[in-house]
């Protein structure tokens, strides 16, 4: 408890001791004790050396002179000009302490002290919150170096397949729980195929795997899947969520933008198993590498996926700043697993990240060259890179040849005209009809000039922009200037430490305790539905602690030891016994571990939006298995593109592009593809590190009634009729094999058989229904059948197999709507 000299004097004054004595008593206090004590009691809870809220410490005179985000807090001898006085008087924008006002005499004491030169008492113990040399919160688990851990010993050694299992089993044994047995071979194959490639196993693959009795049969499958180009499409999509990739600008106008080269870069990088450190450096700072390749420039599109506002009348600087803030927040969530975005307006409330540190990170990303001209107008479509395909180059070459030939001819013709002798009364040679035609031809040709594919990239301004703290997160309120830097609780930057490249290298230099943990945790999350740290983008104090901290560190360490190979981590996880467990619910576990955090079994997971589409495509055999290229336009329900200001063009694909994987569907932010959005695809307005999995009636309507799904059902029906023996039971078994990767149980076979029998009756007695279903209500017509045949003769005219095809299309619709189809078991 502190009593100030003044209050002591007041207390003493009334008659207890003489006034003179009181004055003597006060005079014995060192000068300034009063004011400094007020600071200590009222300001220091936040503005201590260790907390430095808004960058300010009031612990020493020097610290106050140095000031915080708003500059110096103290100007000795200038009380009205000192921020500390202004804040206490609460006459301006800054009002301190928050939510209350000091007593007038307290403010006066501080004012007088400043006016008198702000002499700091010699041994004023203002440092009550003694700086321990460490920031508060710096001892949080996630900021500690990744520990080198050995897999723990376990009792049931027979269950263990690799070190991952030691960690899982040790914990289960501690809780006196037993893990589940391995899933059925068919289930396992379907699970690992969907998880690694997002496609269903073919009947041949199922049969071969079931028949393969070699001890490493499963590992062989894993290697085959990891080598498949479909792996990059599957895991690339996870990363594209993080990268908030889309094919349009976002915001109000939301015009199309070309970014698909970046999407393909991600897919290719994963397929080549580009080490994650390189993957990180090229995306964050590929442009700053020495002599960057075109691919390294394309990679920097990662941070050009930010939405751009092209609305009229905007303040360009505001939206440029928004994009930079997005880059900082995205980097924080994607690599550091920290909610650094919380420190945009004020110091982070829970984690040791100050507002100043947010703007130090901001400074790394603040130098993109969007300035189009001297007039300081921004163009968010800059910097842009032309990335022509071989075909485009050939077309351009042909165009240039044609252009120069026609230009030459024109010049010759003009000379010819000029050389002609002219007489008064002759037509004006510049109005010569042939000349005009030639000029017009050239103009028309110019309009058809082939364009190169482009992609947005990062490029630094020659001179970095000044970065400053935005007071309250408002860029119009300038605080102090900051230099690029990383949060103090993390290891320091190496090298000059000033560029995006330095920063990118720092993320993956092996000493950063977060990047590897965050990355392996996100991989784990896709295999079990939840990460070892459930709050995958918040490893801070508000996040969930890891369920298996040693396993997290083991995986993170292994990731670095394996030279940042993502495929190595995938292989490690999917070949573990933990991953290979059955997902069947066990009543005894529900009591003790209702959320299955200890993983005594696998989890059933609803498939992601794209994978539902891709599964139906692969089961039906319709899939166009082409990797990469411009985004495509599969059929979309009428009116789906008109829900926003500028209705977008949707040139529905009629050829093979109709059946491309979901990752290639053109993604317009303000009117995103409904078939994806209904199954929880993210809207690409912000980085998404984990999708939610919902279960709604609108999803049921989509798979039941959507044109695309009906088409896939027809495909599956045709395939079953063509490829299976001519016998209903055999066909049902084959259809199950195609859609579920397994044989039906007897009750399933019987129930679907019953449905098929009724459907055969329906389509035999109502052939027009079959015609409508298979031939789209008269849009198409079977060969030899008129478009609107007379009803009485219809049955005789239709192909013999039409009822069968229609009935099987019905059965395929049933299969595509089963929980078992929509779920990864």
């Amino acid at each position: 408890m502190c009593i100030s000299a003044r209050s002591l004097a007041r207390f003493l004054a009334p008659g207890i001791v003489s006034a003179a004595a009181a004055v003597t008593l006060v005079a014995q206090q060192p000068a300034g004790t009063d004011a400094v004590t007020i600071l200590k009691n009222n300001c220091q809870p936040c503005h201590s050396e260790s907390l430095k809220s808004s960058g300010l410490s009031v612990a020493t005179r020097e610290a106050m002179l140095q000031g915080g985000n708003r500059g110096a807090a103290l100007r000795p001898s200038d009380a009205p000009g000192s921020l500390v006085v202004q804040a206490m008087e609460q006459t301006g924008g800054l009002k301190m302490p928050p939510g209350r006002k000091l007593a007038d005499e307290q403010i006066a004491a501080v004012r007088n002290w400043v006016a008198a030169g702000a002499v700091w008492p010699k041994d004023a113990a203002v440092s009550s919150a003694a700086p321990s040399g460490k920031r508060k919160g710096a001892d949080w688990w996630a900021f500690q170096p990744v520990a080198r851990v050995e897999p723990p010993a376990v009792k049931q050694t027979a269950w263990v397949r690799n070190p991952v299992d030691n960690f899982i089993l040790a914990r289960l044994e501690k809780e006196k729980l037993t893990p589940s047995g391995e899933a059925a071979k068919e289930t396992l194959l379907r699970r690992v195929s969907l998880d690694l490639t997002g496609l269903l196993p073919s009947p041949k693959e199922v049969r071969e795997f079931v028949a393969d009795t070699r001890p490493d049969a499963y590992e062989r499958v894993v290697d085959r899947l990891l080598a498949s180009p479909n792996y990059g499409e599957r895991w690339g999509r996870h990363w594209l969520d993080v990268a908030r990739y889309a094919d349009s600008d976002g915001y109000t106008i939301d015009a199309p933008r070309q970014m698909w080269k970046y999407r393909d870069w991600v897919i290719n990088a994963l397929n080549r198993d580009m080490p994650f450190d390189q993957f990180t450096i090229e995306q964050l700072a590929g442009d700053l590498l020495p002599n960057p390749t075109t691919d390294q420039l394309i990679a920097t599109g990662f941070h050009r996926n930010t939405p751009s506002n092209f609305e009229g009348g905007i303040d360009f600087e505001q939206y440029r700043v928004e994009a930079v803030v997005d880059r900082v927040s995205t980097t924080g969530g994607a690599f550091l697993g920290l909610t650094v975005g919380c420190a945009r307006c004020h110091d982070h409330k829970f984690d040791p990240i100050s507002q100043k540190e947010f703007y130090q990170l901001f400074a790394f990303f603040n130098n993109v060259d969007e300035v189009a001209s001297e007039a300081e107008r921004y163009d968010f479509n800059r910097p842009i890179l032309e990335v022509p395909t071989a075909e485009e180059i050939a077309r351009k070459k042909a165009f240039n040849a044609q252009w120069s030939a026609l230009s030459k001819e024109l010049i010759l013709y003009v000379r010819e005209l000029a050389a002609k002798p002219r007489q008064a009364g002759d037509a004006d040679p510049s109005k010569d009809p042939e000349l005009m035609e030639r000029v017009q031809n050239l103009r028309e040709l110019r309009k058809r000039e082939p364009k190169y594919t482009t992609t947005l990239v990062m490029k630094e301004l020659p001179k970095p922009r000044e970065s400053y703290i935005h007071l309250g997160g408002d860029f119009t309120r300038k605080g102090i200037t900051v230099q690029p830097g990383v949060p103090e609780v993390l290891p320091p930057l190496q090298g000059e430490g000033k560029t995006r490249l330095d920063f990118a290298k720092w993320l993956v230099d092996g000493r950063n305790p977060l990047t590897a943990r965050v990355t392996v945790n996100r991989i784990w999350q896709e295999y079990f539905g939840k990460g070892l740290v459930e709050s995958e983008n918040d490893f801070g104090a508000q996040g969930n602690p890891p369920t298996h901290p040693e396993l997290l560190d083991y995986l993170a360490g292994e990731f670095v030891r394996q030279k940042w190979s993502q495929k190595a981590i995938h292989r490690l996880i999917v070949t573990s016994a933990a991953y290979r467990q059955s997902s069947k619910e066990r009543p005894e576990l529900e009591e003790v571990d209702p959320y299955n955090k200890l993983l005594a079994r696998q989890n059933r997971l609803r498939l992601e939006a794209e994978i539902i589409r891709d599964s139906a495509l692969s089961a039906s055999g319709l899939l166009t298995d082409k990797v990469g290229g411009p985004s495509v336009y599969p059929p979309i329900p009428d009116g789906a593109m008109s829900v926003t200001q500028v209705a977008g063009a949707w040139p529905t694909a009629t050829g093979p592009d109709r059946y491309r994987r979901g990752v290639y569907t053109f993604f317009r932010r303000s009117a995103a593809f409904p078939g994806l959005m209904v199954f929880d695809a993210p809207d690409a307005n912000a980085s998404c590190t984990r999708r939610v999995r919902s279960n709604t009636p609108l999803q049921a309507l989509a798979t039941l009634n959507d044109e695309a799904f009906t088409e896939f059902a027809e495909g599956l029906a045709a395939r079953v009729i063509k490829e299976a023996p001519e016998d209903t039971a055999a066909r049902i078994r084959y259809a199950y094999l195609l859609a579920m990767g397994r044989a039906p149980r007897p009750d399933e076979e019987q129930r679907l058989g019953k449905f098929l029998a009724r459907q055969m009756e329906e389509y035999k007695s109502n052939p027009s229904h079959a015609l409508e279903l298979i031939y789209k209500g008269g849009k198409f017509s079977p060969e030899g059948v008129p478009v609107n045949p007379p009803p009485a003769k219809l049955a005789a005219m239709l192909p013999k197999d039409l009822p069968l095809e229609a009935a099987w299309t019905g059965a395929a619709r049933v299969l595509f709507n089963l929980d078992d189809f929509l779920t990864r078991d």
Binding site: I314, Q645, S670, L698, L818
Partner: protein, 483 residues
């Protein structure tokens, strides 16, 4: 055991796990420790129907909301905020001190020419017991003067359409946060079992700027995102059966799916399958209730005429009638967007046209809700994303429009526990700044939630380590509004 028994058993078990928690010892403790979700938040794990109606934090005054969003920002000076002083100083240069520190869209045009004040050319008169002012452009709305309450001098945060619309809907200018309709259905579900809980209707020459972000569920599960109805054909995407699938075949299909899903439920024991069975049943009901909803056949001629609705035509009038039919069926949050209020260049014919489109149907909606006893528990809000400036903007010679103004605009509310016939707040004589009660968009959100029985500080969802709210860290319930 029959399938029904099986389903019942799983439902009960799920209910036990996801809802009750109490008395389950370790489970309850685990649940509290790990998922300490706030009150009124749905429990983890999908409930059988995530949109099931549930009580809020305290008794509600309103059950449903109809939000009439005038996209593009109507001019308060041409409709409701009568400013004789502004007319008096018409065409005079705006005093510098009124412009100081303010930010406007298209700032660069001000640099070229000093803006001038623009008095309205519209005639104003007082209406009803309340004596509120209305311009000649909205004669029908003037007729419901005593049913509505004005909020004047409301302010918002951003002077561009997209971000400001986003702010009006999500409480944030950054795209990607949950919209108010999502928050509300997340908080209290919906009374309708066979229609979505949050429906979006659109009219006007184009869609609203920002599109799907305005009714996004953000980080909430997608069950809470707004469902945009289409103006032609099926109101809901994929509502109709594919061609060649008869009603019987569809019923048979869904029955078969159900039986096979229940077989899988027995096999794996995953309660999520029971949820899927319930989803398919609701989807099946939607296929009947959807077409019934948009069929105006049972509406009387008088009703249709009152709205100016014409069956089968896409219009704001039809959407107003549809809004009434939706809340009648228990749909919690209905939002109408009507576009093209962005009158920068001409407050003449273009404004007359758009006000004509909305005037009669809006008034008809209030009257109709009232005569059916629905107004007392339906909150109706009429608002744009911001207002328009007291200064004029000349883009074409001979005509004048107004720029975007975020410091003081006008909106009105009716029904749902709002005291009718009042005006709260006001603006200075030139309409630049609010005088009296200060009201911001977050306050409107807090008030709306309050009327629905929700405490805006407690309706939270944890995302990225933080409990998010519709009102962020702001929001004051406007107590003066309540009956």
């Amino acid at each position: 055991m029959t399938n029904e028994d099986l389903l019942l058993q799983f439902e009960t078990r799920r209910h036990f796990f996801s809802r009750c928690g109490v008395g389950l010892g370790k489970l309850a403790l685990l649940s509290l420790l790990n998922d300490g979700k706030s009150f009124a938040a749905p429990a983890t794990g999908a409930a059988a129907n995530p949109l099931q109606a549930k009580p809020g934090h305290f008794p509600a005054k309103a059950k449903n909301v109809i939000y009439l969003f005038m996209a593009g920002a109507p001019s308060q000076f041409e409709l409701y905020d009568f400013k004789p002083t502004l007319q008096k100083y018409h065409n005079q240069t705006v005093p510098e001190e009124l412009m100081a520190g303010k930010r406007f869209a298209f700032m660069d045009t001000f640099a070229k020419e000093k803006p001038k004040l623009l008095g309205t050319a519209r005639k104003f008169a007082q209406h009803g017991q309340s004596g509120a002012w209305f311009s000649e452009l909205v004669p029908h709305i003037a007729g419901i003067a005593d049913d509505i309450t004005f909020l004047k001098g409301v302010s918002t945060e951003n002077f561009n359409h997209g971000p400001a619309k986003c702010f009006s809907n999500t409480g944030s200018t950054r795209f990607g946060r949950p919209s108010m309709g999502s928050w509300i259905t997340y908080g209290i579900g919906s009374e309708s079992n066979d229609l979505p809980g949050f429906v979006v209707l659109q009219s006007g020459p184009r869609g609203p700027r920002g599109g799907a972000a305005l009714w996004s569920g953000g980080f909430l599960p997608s069950a809470y995102q707004g469902v945009p109805f289409r103006s032609g054909g099926d109101p809901i995407l994929d509502l109709s059966r594919p061609k060649g699938i008869s009603a019987d075949t569809q019923a048979e299909t869904i029955q078969t799916i159900r039986d096979l899903n229940l077989s899988q439920l027995t096999e794996s024991g995953d309660p999520e399958i029971a949820t899927r069975v319930a989803s398919y049943e609701m989807a099946y009901r939607m296929q009947t209730s959807g077409p019934e909803l948009i069929d105006f056949g049972k509406e009387t001629k008088e009703t249709l005429e009152m709205y100016g609705a014409e069956p089968g035509k896409a219009s704001y009038a039809n959407n107003c009638l549809l809004a009434r039919r939706l809340v009648e069926r228990g749909v919690r949050f209905v939002q109408l967007y009507h576009t093209d209020w962005d009158h920068h260049a001409d407050l003449g014919q273009p404004l007359e046209q758009v006000t004509r489109e909305i005037d009669q149907p809006t008034a008809a909606l209030i009257k109709d809700l009232k005569q059916r006893g629905l107004l007392e528990n339906t909150l109706v809000v009429w608002s744009g994303e911001f207002g328009r400036t007291p200064m004029g903007e000349v883009r074409d010679s001979g005509k004048a429009g107004r720029n975007h103004h975020i410091d003081a605009f006008t909106l009105w509310m009716a029904g749902g526990g709002v005291k009718p016939g009042m005006t709260l707040g006001g603006t200075d004589d030139l309409g630049f700044s609010p005088t009296g009660d200060k009201m911001e968009v977050h306050d409107l959100h807090a008030t709306m939630l309050h009327l629905l029985g929700l405490d805006h500080t407690k309706l939270t969802y944890k995302f990225q380590g933080r409990n998010f709210r519709l009102t962020d860290v702001a929001g004051q319930v406007i107590q003066k509004l309540f009956v």
